[in-house]
């Protein structure tokens, strides 16, 4: 209750401890029970979620067990002598080995998923899209008909003239490149993103795709994934990149293949004239 004055003077809705407390409790509980993950919209998402939830439950379980052991140890009648060396096995080495095995198992599972996600590149048929992070916006570039990106050069960068990426006018491959401020992808087709940054490190983060990868200047990083569920999702910047970091966001629109094709066509027509 010492807090309510602060709340009031800061002009929030008047706050009564009891009511919010109950709402908070109920919310927190519900959140804990379903762990509050955004819905997942990528092929690798469900496996990742299962592994994540497994981990969270295990952690929660260990947390509870550990505290139960702690409290039990504190409450039970005092045994004169500390546990002897024989029970050392029971109390220490046995649980330690079990936990070691547990952690090992989790690691193996995790590394499997990681290998699938990252060890290999995308297959050649994948849709090529280039993502460029700039303070404080994301730009998405499609290669167009020729399936090749025009070369970029910082000296040509001119956001004013609609060339924020500095696509070199003298490069024919760049002529048909499509620039977009939102990432539009077809459902169920693998996507090969090449991440760049123009100025500082940015973080390409799509919660619904369970995907995060930093975009590092002077370096092109590839990530590949397959969006499954159509919908509009948030693209955030997850790496501190300056004062506009918090508003460096864009939308990801996953469309059914047909709609995507028409969107692309429209885009190309627009670019033509």
């Amino acid at each position: 209750m010492a807090l309510s004055p602060i709340a009031l003077e800061l002009g929030s809705s008047p706050w009564s401890p009891s009511s919010t407390l109950s709402t908070i409790l109920s919310q927190t509980l519900s959140r804990i029970l379903l762990w509050d993950l955004p819905k997942d919209a990528a092929a690798h998402g469900s496996a990742l979620d299962r592994h994540l939830l497994l981990n969270l439950w295990i952690a929660l379980g260990l947390l509870v067990i550990a505290h139960l052991v702690l409290f039990a140890g504190l409450l039970l009648r005092r045994r004169a002598s500390a546990p002897g060396p024989r029970r050392a096995w029971l109390l220490e080495y046995l649980p330690l080995t079990l936990l070691a095995l547990l952690f090992a198992a989790l690691t193996v599972r995790a590394e499997r998923l990681w290998a699938v996600a990252r060890y290999t590149g995308a297959d050649p048929a994948a849709l090529q899209v280039e993502v460029t992070g700039v303070q404080f916006a994301w730009y998405f570039r499609y290669p167009g008909q020729d399936a090749a990106f025009g070369r970029t050069d910082p000296r040509h960068v001119a956001p004013g003239e609609g060339n924020p990426l500095g696509i070199d006018p003298s490069d024919p491959r760049g002529k048909d490149d499509l620039l977009s401020s939102q990432l539009v992808l077809p459902a169920n087709r693998e996507v090969d993103l090449r991440l760049n940054a123009q100025d500082v490190i940015h973080g390409f983060f799509v919660p619904e795709l369970r995907l995060k990868q930093n975009a590092v200047p002077g370096q092109t990083i590839h990530v590949h994934f397959t969006p499954t569920t159509p919908g509009t999702y948030a693209i955030l910047c997850s790496q501190l990149c300056g004062m506009g970091h918090y508003r460096m966001q864009a939308n990801l629109r996953v469309l059914p293949p047909t709609e995507f094709a028409s969107w692309l066509a429209a885009k190309e027509k627009a670019a033509a004239q």
Binding site: L10, T20, H51, E92, G218, C241, R247
Partner: protein
């Protein structure tokens, strides 16, 4: 607070001409070379830092919930202000609180005593390192007065953001001062690490063999070894960054980098190089922050449950293992930063491996208190809190250590929750335990006997802080899982889907903020307790906790009540610490310094 030293030189505490204190007060208190005074100076430094750091954290919390609240003197908090708040909060807390207080503060105050030495190996160097740290803190605070504000690139200062002055407000002079401050701090820490190492190697009293070293000393020693390695590397990295900023080099800034119209023409610079160098320092750093607390936990649990430390050798071994493995895991901060995926796997495995010694420690502690019915003095309460918070925060470590999961959790509030529980809160609980436990030594002077902190206030402080800590940082896991990234100056009024995603977390955010305010208020009993007990606290008996370690050796007490004056007693150690006779009457125990088999 500061010790009164014996007027007649022949009985001065220190046995070295360097340490013979002249009468002038500034030689005695300000530029003293006495480890006791320096320890207290460090603790005061940490208190200043923690007070500021806490205030900043509260401002952050308030701003996150009420973005358009107006500060009395400052006006509205702009996004860059928020980022400066985060940066200075993190920098103050990591460097000037959790590296300074446990390692340098209590290290100086207690370590020499616990090994039966009367002073550190290099007293003048010791004073020098303190004053360098003090200058470092001043420099850091000065950065906030830079024309365009303090730096905004976080405590990890990733380039190019930190390397290019035009990359944002506060990245010009503010960043330079930040660099200068941390460079000074690195030098100071390296020097005091050397001092600590040599003190432990060379100044142990007779009979203090390695197996008889208290685990606290092992903690300080290992942390010092880590500091020596880590801070040297950080210093090199800072030098390179400075050259990039002012000498036109390109160590971290790649060619063709275009920031705010400033083109970086040429060079092989790689931002990842900084990440490697920084985290090679950064991870050992976080263990530097916790190792002393781990040692203290073992010792206090044993002390208050009147038992031997369970598996003493194992504890020493795990301490060293954590120290060693701590050097090999830095890549787990870079899983999604552009690291080679195979390297990620390697670092992931080494990180999982380092979780094991920590787990062994936790199990050890659980076994130690198993059916021990300890006496619930405040130091013990905070130690138990340490155990609880450490394992709560620690359990999310292995989750983050799996690259595939980290690619979702990296740089979300899940990470914030992880390290606030295990570093911030567990570390601070260690500090509190130490303060309550060693306050008699802290407050004892030649003219005034040491005093105890008040138990009721202590209990109040403990419960408030424990509840506040969990109430503040547990919900952060949830907002993190919901996808809330770090370093977001604002969660409202953000367009697009992102706006919806972030808005969902607001109710929980509000709760976190209230809890944070509560947590900060819960510190008031502590400060009240400090001030009150300095003069009016109960007078402490020579060995208030019936401890076995040497810092309670009568010859090292500063009270007149001590039987022997420091000069007249050669300290000899006869056994490992924690030889608590587990007979029901708790009075009977054997301190390290008592010969024979039974004390009366």
């Amino acid at each position: 607070m500061t010790p009164e030293l014996n007027p007649e030189p022949s009985r001065a505490t220190a046995s070295d001409s360097v340490l013979r204190q002249p009468a002038s007060w500034h030689r005695r208190y300000l530029f003293s070379t006495d480890h006791h005074v320096i320890g207290i100076q460090y603790l005061l430094l940490a208190l200043v830092a923690v007070a500021i750091g806490t205030t900043l954290s509260l401002l952050m919390r308030l701003h996150l919930v009420w973005p358009d609240a107006v500060l009395p003197l400052h006006g509205p908090i702009l996004p860059e202000d928020y980022l400066s708040l985060v940066t200075f909060h993190g920098t103050l807390m990591v460097f000037f609180v959790l590296t300074t207080a446990p390692q340098s503060g209590f290290g100086n105050l207690i370590l020499p005593r616990q090994i039966g030495a009367r002073h550190m190996a290099f007293p003048r160097l010791n004073a020098a390192s303190f004053w360098i740290s003090a200058v470092a803190l001043a420099t850091l605070l000065a950065a906030t007065f830079a024309p365009s504000g303090g730096s905004i690139s976080g405590w990890t200062a990733y380039p190019p953001l930190s390397a290019i002055a035009s990359s944002g407000p506060g990245q010009a002079l503010g960043m330079d001062l930040w660099l200068a401050s941390i460079a000074l701090f690195s030098v100071a820490s390296t020097l005091s690490a050397i001092n600590t190492i040599v003190t432990v190697l060379d100044c142990r009293c007779k009979g203090m063999s390695w197996e008889r070293l208290p685990l606290t000393v092992w903690g300080w020693f290992t942390a010092a070894l880590l500091s020596l390695i880590a801070f040297s590397v950080l210093l090199a990295a800072l030098l390179l960054l400075f050259c990039d900023r002012h000498a036109g080099t390109s160590f971290f800034v790649p060619a063709g980098d275009l920031t705010n119209g400033v083109l970086h023409p040429a060079g092989n610079g790689s931002p990842l190089l900084w990440l490697h160098l920084f985290w090679f320092f950064g991870h050992p750093e976080v263990y530097i922050a916790i190792l002393p607390g781990m040692g203290l936990t073992s010792m206090l649990l044993a002390n208050f449950s009147r038992r031997r430390v369970y598996g003493y050798r194992v504890m020493i071994l795990t301490t060293l293992l954590i120290g060693f493995l701590g050097i090999l895991v830095w890549g787990h901060h870079m899983f999604v930063a552009g690291l080679n995926p195979f390297a990620s796997t390697a670092f992931s495995i080494s990180t999982m491996a380092i979780a094991l010694p920590s787990t062994a420690k936790v199990l050890n502690w659980l076994a130690l208190v198993w059916r021990s019915r300890p006496s619930y003095k405040t130091p013990l309460l905070f130690t138990l809190g340490f155990v609880s918070l450490f394992l709560t925060g620690g359990l999310t470590g292995p989750i983050l250590a799996q690259p595939i999961l980290d690619q979702y959790l990296h740089n979300t509030f899940f990470v914030i929750a992880h390290f606030h529980l295990i570093m911030a809160m567990a570390g601070v609980f260690g500090l509190f335990a130490a303060t309550y436990y060693w306050f008699p030594i802290l407050s004892g002077t030649r003219i005034r006997p040491g005093r105890l902190l008040s138990e009721p206030l202590g209990r109040l402080h403990f419960w408030g802080t424990l509840i506040g800590a969990y109430a503040t940082f547990l919900p952060m896991h949830l907002t993190g899982l919901a996808g809330e990234p770090r370093h977001y100056a604002q969660l409202t009024a953000i367009p697009g889907q992102a706006g919806h995603l972030l808005a969902q977390t607001l109710p929980l955010q509000r709760h976190i903020t209230y809890a944070a305010v509560f947590l900060a208020l819960a510190q008031l009993p502590f400060f009240l307790n400090l001030l009150r007990s300095l003069r009016h606290g109960a007078i402490a008996p020579p060995n208030p906790w019936d401890a076995t370690t040497l810092e309670w050796h009568p010859a090292l007490q500063r009270e007149p009540s001590a039987q022997a004056s420091p000069s007249e007693e050669t300290i000899v150690v006869y056994r490992a610490p924690c030889a608590y006779d587990s007979a029901p009457d708790q009075a009977r125990f054997l301190p390290q310094w008592v010969s024979g088999t039974k004390a009366e």
